[in-house]
């Protein structure tokens, strides 16, 4: 089946905002994959200094200006996207399998399993996500990117448990589940081969939306100095560094800040498009 000729893609492409989102996301992914070849000053990523060109406002050479030790902010923003995207992918790669498995178990097995798993989920949902992530980072050793990923994953899985649990509950009374049970299919088979495929449209939509929101939370943590440590070019860290020297050198923090906004916006628009396309609610 040709994807671009399918009715799904037709529905998706009818909404100009979704297409804009797709363009934003694709551009950012391509830029960050080929960052070393595309950016004008790839050497500015690390602990590079060029005091002759420090704190330069945006110009044709440095389109986002330079920071206070003369590094090109545009280059660092593009490399910052690499960190952000990695964070988003790794966090969801940890959180989604945990959440999905727990949701399937709670919804399908029911009884005590359901009660215990859902109460645990409720407790985790009662703690504001950012506060939970902050506390976990605080309890781990020195802040770094890996710990940020762990902390955000810990705060993120309950949402998937809740989503998959609700779908499982509504699907498990269907005839084909009963048929599979009568034929003696194992619980594992029913959960992962019969129920899970029904969750995929919602799951895919939520993952797309969440890629943006995980990046948002991740950059919030590094904004507080609890994420990737310098000289790693992290977007949140760059905003924080610039915030102390407002308003004179506004480009220090505004450009990295807008860079975060754009990537979150991109994933959000695509996610909304998928929501309409699959006609799901997440």
């Amino acid at each position: 089946m040709n994807l671009f000729k399918s009715k799904y893609f037709y529905k998706f492409s009818r909404n100009p905002l979704s297409v804009v989102g797709l363009v934003i996301v694709t551009t950012i992914v391509i830029l960050s994959i080929f960052a070393p070849f595309i950016t004008p000053f790839p050497e500015h990523v690390g602990p590079f200094t060029d005091f002759a060109n420090k704190s330069k406002p945006p110009s044709s050479t440095y389109i986002f200006g330079t920071d206070k030790i003369g590094r090109d902010i545009f280059t660092r923003v593009i490399f910052g996207y690499r960190i952000s995207l990695t964070l988003g992918i790794v966090v969801l790669a940890i959180a989604v399998p945990i959440g999905v498995t727990m949701g399937l178990c709670a919804g399908y097995v029911g009884k005590k399993t359901e009660m215990i798993l859902m109460r645990i989920t409720d407790v985790f949902l009662a703690i504001p996500a950012l506060v939970l992530a902050l506390s976990i980072i605080g309890l781990l050793d020195r802040p770094n990117l890996f710990y940020t990923m762990i902390a955000v994953s810990m705060a993120w899985w309950p949402w998937y448990t809740r989503l998959i649990y609700n779908i499982t509950r509504s699907v498990k009374t269907e005839g084909y589940i009963a048929a599979a049970e009568i034929m003696g299919a194992s619980k594992m088979h029913i959960m992962f081969r019969e129920i899970l495929p029904n969750c995929l449209p919602s799951l895919l939509t939520k993952i797309t939306l969440d890629l943006g929101f995980v990046i948002l939370v991740g950059s919030s943590l590094s904004f507080l100095g609890l994420g990737a440590q310098p000289p790693t070019p992290d977007l949140g860290t760059m905003v924080a560094k610039g915030a102390s020297v407002l308003p004179d050198t506004w480009w220090f923090s505004l450009f990295p800040g807008f860079a975060i906004l754009i990537v979150v916006l991109g994933f959000n628009l695509v996610g909304d498009g998928l929501k309409d396309m699959f006609d799901v609610d997440v």
């Binding site: 504001p128 939970l132 605080g138 100095g225 505004l254 800040g257």
Partner: protein, 338 residues
Amino acid sequence: MNTLQYFLRRIFVSIIVFFGVSIVIFCLARLIPGDPARIALGPFATDEMVEQLRETLHLNESIFIQYGIFIEKLFQGDLGISTYTKRPVLVDIVSYFPATFELVLMSGLLMILIGMPLGILSGKFKNSIIDNIARLISLLGVVTPSFLWAIILMLIFAFWFPILPVSERMNEALDPPTLVTGLLLVDSLLEGNFKVFGDAFLHLILPGLAIALPAIGNVARLTRTNLSDVYEKQYIEFAKSYSFSEYRIATKYALKPASIPTVTIIGLDFAFMLGNAFLVETVFVWPGMAKYGVEVILAKDLNGIIATALVITTFFLIINMIVDFVVLLLNPRITTKD
């Protein structure tokens, strides 16, 4: 089930969740690899000092006993000594929490006072300029990090058009009111000191707005959808056929049911706002829980971290309970359901 039973059950559930949260946070604090005493004291402390701190923190007992001691002390109002400020954690919380409380309440107020009218207007004038602006705000609100809002608001209203103050809770030149509740607005009113009241209010606007903006769009969008749903109901047709005035239909029949989903979502929005308060407080040098929280996190102060997480979560639980009661007042049928 009558209203009282509903109330009691709701409170009971909240207490259970609170204990769950305390177990989660406590376990995280104890099960994470590394010796908390060693981390708190740093690599240069002697083994005796570490052992002594382990003794004071009861780290040598089993985890169940440790949790028991923790809960027992919690109910005596003893959250332990902060290894960072060297003061009882409770004293720290009492001095930092009111600032955050005041700020988040202000944001909640702004969220409702701006979000709901915006939603009503955009529902009334569909596809007009107002409607499009409301849509833009709700889209941008959700995807913009609140620290970016803080920076943008700061640049516009404090530096380019300097009309609002940007740091701390009040002008340092003014005498602070005597501490009663810790909320500057309340304390200054109690003293009748309107100068401080006005000043503190101005200081609240920008950080409050920065926290509220992501939620404002949410509230506006929900109000718009729900209002248009309600206007299609038969009882509105009925009221119209009685030629009741549009104002009466809106205020008496449409707004109340339409606001129920919005009020429900406000509870969830508070979780985001409490998290966002951490970011915005940092930008506006606000002496609240965020400042304290980040400091204790960087100092690896175990008691401080646990207390911060517990206080914020408790606040969130209470807000959610209040929200549920408000929903009950708006929709009394809830109690008879199950």
